[in-house]
Symmetry: C2
């Protein structure tokens, strides 16, 4: 039996299911998990949706988000544990133990570097979102969608495709979104809730980063430094820095954007790239890792040292050769 | 005969067609116009695509953009002139005369307030973009799409729906985008070309505006002032201000965002609203106009005077009553 059919069968046969998203959860694992949990409850099952890190503020609008657990008791027994978007079991964080204790573990993922750890593994690297895979799973379970499930699945697709801005915004992703809108959810509603309710201090911090952006290596590399002083001046916290590196990547000619956060005890580097430049290669050389176009690192050293090292690595990555003149900034 | 069928018939019978977009053209009228022009040429017609203001830099990637005319000679005769997204004929700008001189004028538009001026009028306010209407027209002409036409039509749909972020991102818009991707164009490619090639000075100016954002009326109104000094400091020009008001509207709780540009001889106000607040009402009270959620004005008076007046008007619009306490900023 192909894995998705086997997972559908195992869930249909189960009484109690645990559904686990990854640490630092996103709209995909949470939306997919909440939709799957609701579908299983519709079938009369007990379904616990859990995420070790809880639900971030921008995703609390998801139907059922209030019931997402951050832990399960040691003596809670589950017939099936389903992990969502966990390329390795440690991505389940503190819930990895609870997953291991289930009678059967099923993994649903779309990361190409998934390292199998489950009894049933359904990995489709071409799926735009795990939510698209779960939409198909719910169909196989014979459960018809309602508005709440559709909104959860739509959020999975919208967030994992960057609101259809990324290369994984396939025709299939667009058609699935169109189908889900038939249940009363809308892309506009998801975009509004996820992207257009920014805390004002995060907007001010983004402003500080954009104002202070520096270009290097013939304009192919953009950098910004976020200092504790900038945080204090804007009222922002380190939670408010997401999206800044991606905004810098949107500058004409930029292939690699790096944001340096001068945190209390370390420098945190967020990297975004495009046009063949590999954020993950630079991140790995800095002791971190990630995806080809989105990566991060927390190298040892002071700010100036880390910036200088990262810029050296970036020069090789964006293909600047020695005899090129630096661009005027 | 319904209007679109009649327009298809008139174009099929024509030898020379003029296709005209509106002043300050956007991706919808240009993308739709370029696709329609290519389709007519495929049928052996002569088709001139024209736009009085030419093609803005962010849309020069559109296939055929280099051949867009900004004027036609007084003695050029056309069998049919098709206006795209021109709610009134003056929206064709300096090309209105050339349109009037055509033997037959056809208007294709999706503005609900279209004022009929053409021999054949095809207005569909539910169409997400005129590009969607033109895609159907091209199908009726019996022309199959190619990658260039699909990229033009996809750009029309992507830009007029704010990359699917606006409420007009209907299931039909998503499905049309999916269909167009079958010809080798992609949403990612359009988004990249239109939104992610920002001049660095525009990004710095946006940063200045975001850093200096002020909240008023219990956080329901966000404002930013762009001064000549900010322009000088960032190297930006007044061409670089688009998108700033929309960014301010994305702050949590904000219903109306206003950006004040302190230009040489006047104050220019850009307004964006949501949640029932009407940007156009405030703009009209300032002597301008626009759409319910996107409007502008250039009222007489100095900066302080205009800001004070606009904030008074905004208070009424966002429903702040006297006994509410101002939000801490």
């Amino acid at each position: 039996m192909e894995p998705r059919a086997a997972i559908a069968q195992a869930l249909a046969d189960s009484v109690r299911a645990l559904i686990v998203g990854h640490v630092a959860p996103d709209g995909d694992c949470l939306g997919a998990g909440l939709a799957l949990g609701a579908a299983l409850r519709r079938l009369g099952k007990t379904a616990v949706v859990a995420c070790a890190d809880g639900v971030p503020a921008s995703l609390r609008f998801l139907p059922g988000a209030g019931a997402v657990a951050t832990a399960v008791a040691d003596d809670e027994a589950f017939d099936v544990a389903v992990t969502l978007e966990c390329a390795t079991l440690p991505r389940a964080g503190a819930l990895a133990g609870a997953v291991r204790r289930a009678r059967l573990v099923a993994a649903i993922d779309h990361h190409p570097d998934h390292v199998p750890y489950a009894d049933l593994t359904d990995v489709d690297p071409r799926a735009p979102a795990v939510g698209a895979m779960v939409a198909d799973l719910i169909r196989r379970l014979g459960v018809s969608l309602d508005r709440a499930m559709a909104l959860n699945l739509l959020t999975a697709v919208v967030t994992d495709t960057g609101a259809f801005r990324y290369a994984n915004a396939t025709p299939g992703a667009l058609r699935l979104a169109a189908d889900l809108m038939a249940y009363g959810a809308s892309v506009h509603e998801v975009v509004r809730a996820v992207y257009e309710e920014q805390p004002v201090q995060a907007v001010r911090l983004l402003g500080t980063a954009l104002t202070g952006v520096a270009l290097h290596h013939n304009g192919r590399v953009a950098t910004a430094v976020l200092t504790p002083a900038a945080l204090a001046a804007t009222g922002a916290s380190w939670e408010d820095t997401s999206g800044i590196a991606a905004a810098l990547r949107g500058i004409a000619g930029v292939r690699l954007a790096m944001v340096f956060e001068e945190r209390e005890d370390r420098i945190r580097v967020s990297l975004r790239s495009r046009d063949g430049a590999r954020a993950d290669r630079v991140a790995r050389a800095l002791g971190g890792g990630g995806h080809p176009e989105a990566a991060g690192a927390e190298p040892a050293g002071g700010l100036e040292e880390v910036v200088a090292l990262a810029l050296d690595l970036a020069a090789a990555e964006v293909g600047v050769v020695d005899d090129e003149q630096p661009a005027p900034v």
